[in-house]
Amino acid sequence: MAEVFADAASVDLAPIRLVDPDGSPTAEDRYSRDLPPETLSWLYELMVVTRGLDSEFINLQRQGELALFASCRGQEAAQIGAAACLRKTDWLFPQYREIGAFLLRGITPAQMGAVWRGKWHGGLGFTERCCAPISIPIGTHGLHAVGAAMGAQRLGEDSVTLAFLGDGATSEGDAHEALNFAAVFNAPCVFFIQNNGWAISVPVSHQMAAPSIAHRAIGYGMPGIRVDGNDVLACYAVVADAAKRAREGGGPTLIEAITYRMGPHTTSDDPTRYRSEVEVAHWAALDPIDRYRTYLQGIGVWSERLEERVTARSKRVRAELRESVVGADDFDVGEMFDTVYHDITPDLVRQREQLRDELAKEA
C-alpha cells in the first residue's frame, strides 16, 4: 500500500472537477457525473433547502432565539456531495457546520436547532441516524470515526465512516493520530476535509507549509485527493470512489475539498476584520448552487416544477425550524443529572435533590 502513495506526484494539485464554474461539464473522465435524474434533483433540492435553513438559523439568532450559529453557506456542495453517496448505515462524524449532511440524513431542524438554542449539547437523536453528535473541539472526532470504522471491520460489515474535518483541524494533533491510526489499521474511513479557507481568522497558509492538505496523505501512506468543493458532483464521485475502495478493504482516503465559508465563522464573528471584500466576491461568483443549477439546466434536468418543489420544501423546513425553536420548552433540569451516567452516583442524586429544593423554595 504505502509505496503506491509515497510519491509527492501521486497527489494532483489541480482539484477534481466535473462541472465548471460556468455550469458546463468538464473533460474529466476519471470519475462519472452520470447519476440518475432523480438523484441529480435530490442533490439540488438538498442544497437549496440547506441554504434556506441556514438563512433561517441566522435570522433566528439575530432575533435572539438562538445563542449562536455556524453557517455553512458556500459549503453546501461539499458536505451534501460527500454524504449523499453513502449508505444510511455508514456513520458520519461531523464537526459542527454540516447541516446539509444532517438534513440529508433526516435529522430534523428541531434536532439540529437544539444545539444552537442552547437546549442541549451535541444535537438530539443524531445517533439514530448513524450520525455522531456535533463536535465543538476541533479535529478530535476524527479518532472516533476511525474507532467506529475499526468496529465495522470487527463486525464484518462493509460499512464506512466519514469524518468531516476542516482545514484548521488538520493542525490538531488528533487529526494526525486519526489519519495515522486509520492507515495503520486499514480502517474503512474517509477523511473529508472541507478546506474553506479560514479557521476563524487564520488562513490556510498559516496552518501548514505543505503544498496542500491532500499532500499530507503521502506521509500516512494513503491516497490524497483534491476536489472542487463547490462542485457537488465531483464531491459525490470522489467520496463514492473512496468509500467503495474502503468497503473492499482498500483502507482510508484523505480528500481535501476546496470550498469557501461565505459567512462568518459563527454569528459572533466579524470576518471584515481579516478578509477582503474582493476575496468574498471572487468566491460568490463560484457559488455551488448557481453552478449546479446551470448544469442541470444544460442537461435538461432542471425545470420550473423542480424549482417550485424545492422552494416549497425550503419554505416548509424553514417554518419547521422556526416553529420548533421559538418559545421551545427547555428540558427539565433533572436531565442534566440523569444523562451523565448510566448508573447515577449517590452524590449526583443528592445534588439533584439540592437543586430541586432550591427551585421549590423559589416557587
Binding site: H121, T140, R154, D174, M336, D338
Partner: protein
C-alpha cells in the same frame, strides 16, 4: 452498613518477585499476584463477552510492559487484543468510536504520566459523550492506567492522576489495593455501562493472595474496612492501604487504635462507610500519594467537616505527597507518605503533638 474486609497478606508488598506463567485453565481460587489477578480478570471478561477489546501500546505481542496483558492476543486473536501506534489520545479516541459501535473497549495507557496526551479525549469526549447524546450512547470504556510511585522509576512513571478524573463529571474512578479487589473491580468496571478509570497501584503488582473468582467482592461504589479500630479513621486507597495497615501495627504499640478504610471506589464514593467510621472514632486522616493541594484528601476533609463537624474530636488531617513534581527515584521514599508521616498525623489528631 460497614463491610469488613480481612486484612490482606503483607508478604512481598515491597519486593518484586518473579511470577509464574499464566495458566490458561486456572482454578477458581488461585493464589495470584495483583498483576496476575488483573490479567485473569481481562481473560475472564474477554471470554464472557466477545465485545470486550483490549488495546494499547505493547499490550499484544509483548503482553504489556508489566505482562499484565500476557496471553490475551494468543487466546483471543489480534482483532480483540491489539497493539496500537504510540499515541495515547488516539488510543482513547478509537475507544470512543468503538464504544459508539457497541464494543466494550478496555484500553491501556502504559503509564500514569502518559495519560496527559489523552486528557482531551477523556475529559472533552469520553466523560461527556453520554450527556451530549442525551443518554442515547453509553461509554462502557474502562481505561487501565498503571499508576502511582514507589518503584524507582524515571520521570513521568509515578504520577497520581486521580484528582484530574475525579474533577471531571462523567468518569468513575476505582483503585484496587489487593489482588482480589483488582480482579473484581476490573470485572465490574468492564461490565459497567459508564466510563471507568481503573488505576493500578503498580508497586503492589507483586503482592499475592488467594483470589476467589467465583464470588464477587464488593461492588463499585462501596468502601471496605481493612482494619477495625477505635481512635482514628485512616481513609486511603490503592498502594497506601498496605502502608496504612503497617502504620496501624506500629500505632498499636503506642496504644492508638487505627481503623483503616479502603475507599476502593473514589467516584462513586461510599461516604456512608466513611461517615460510620468517623462518627465512631471522631478523628479522620486522609492519606494519598498525590500532591496535597486539591488532592482527594481536600475533598474528603471538606466533606467530613460539612457533614460530621460535631462528631469530630480533631481537625481532619492529610498525609500526602508534596506540592512538587514527583521527585527523582532516589528521593521518592522521602516524598511519598509512609507510616511515619501518617503516625505524625495520628499523634496530632490524638492531641499529642
Amino acid at each position: 452498613m460497614t463491610q469488613i474486609i480481612e486484612r490482606p497478606p503483607m508478604h512481598g508488598d515491597d519486593v518484586p518477585e518473579p511470577r509464574g506463567p499464566i495458566l490458561t485453565s486456572l482454578p477458581q481460587s488461585p493464589t495470584l499476584t495483583m498483576a496476575q489477578a488483573i490479567n485473569r480478570a481481562l481473560h475472564d471478561a474477554m471470554a464472557a463477552d466477545d465485545r470486550v477489546l483490549v488495546f494499547g501500546e505493547d499490550v499484544a505481542v509483548l503482553g504489556g510492559v508489566f505482562r499484565v496483558t500476557e496471553g490475551l492476543a494468543e487466546t483471543f486473536g489480534e482483532q480483540r487484543c491489539f497493539d496500537t501506534p504510540l499515541a495515547e489520545s488516539g488510543i482513547v479516541g478509537i475507544a470512543i468510536g468503538l464504544a459508539i459501535r457497541g464494543f466494550v473497549p478496555v484500553p491501556e495507557i502504559q503509564f500514569d504520566g502518559f495519560a496527559a496526551p489523552a486528557f482531551d479525549q477523556m475529559v472533552s469526549h469520553l466523560a461527556k459523550y453520554r450527556m451530549r447524546t442525551h443518554g442515547d450512547v453509553d461509554m462502557p470504556v474502562t481505561i487501565r492506567i498503571p499508576s502511582f510511585g514507589g518503584i524507582g522509576a524515571v520521570e513521568h512513571h509515578s504520577e497520581s492522576t486521580e484528582s484530574y478524573w475525579l474533577h471531571t463529571a462523567g468518569l468513575k474512578v476505582v483503585v484496587p489495593s489487593t489482588p482480589s479487589d483488582a480482579y473484581w473491580l476490573l470485572r465490574q468496571a468492564i461490565v459497567s455501562r459508564d466510563p471507568v478509570i481503573y488505576l493500578e497501584p503498580k508497586r503492589r503488582y507483586w503482592t499475592r493472595e488467594v483470589v476467589d473468582t467465583s464470588t464477587p467482592a464488593l461492588p463499585i461504589g462501596r468502601a471496605g474496612v481493612r482494619r477495625i479500630g477505635t481512635d482514628v479513621t485512616v481513609l486511603t486507597y490503592g498502594s497506601l492501604v498496605a502502608t496504612a495497615l503497617s502504620a496501624a501495627d506500629l500505632a498499636e504499640q503506642h496504644g492508638w487504635s487505627l481503623e483503616v478504610v479502603d475507599l476502593r471506589s473514589l467516584n462513586p464514593l461510599d461516604f456512608d462507610t466513611v461517615a460510620d467510621s468517623v462518627r465512631k472514632t471522631g478523628r479522620a486522616i486522609v492519606m494519598h500519594e498525590g500532591p496535597r493541594t486539591l488532592g482527594f484528601g481536600a475533598e474528603l476533609a471538606a466533606r467530613i467537616q460539612e457533614e460530621l463537624f460535631y462528631d469530630l474530636e480533631a481537625p481532619v488531617l492529610r498525609a500526602t505527597g508534596f506540592d512538587t513534581p514527583y521527585p527523582p527515584a532516589r528521593l521518592e521514599k522521602l516524598w511519598l507518605p509512609g507510616p511515619d508521616r501518617l503516625l505524625d498525623c495520628v499523634e496530632r489528631a490524638m492531641g499529642q503533638p
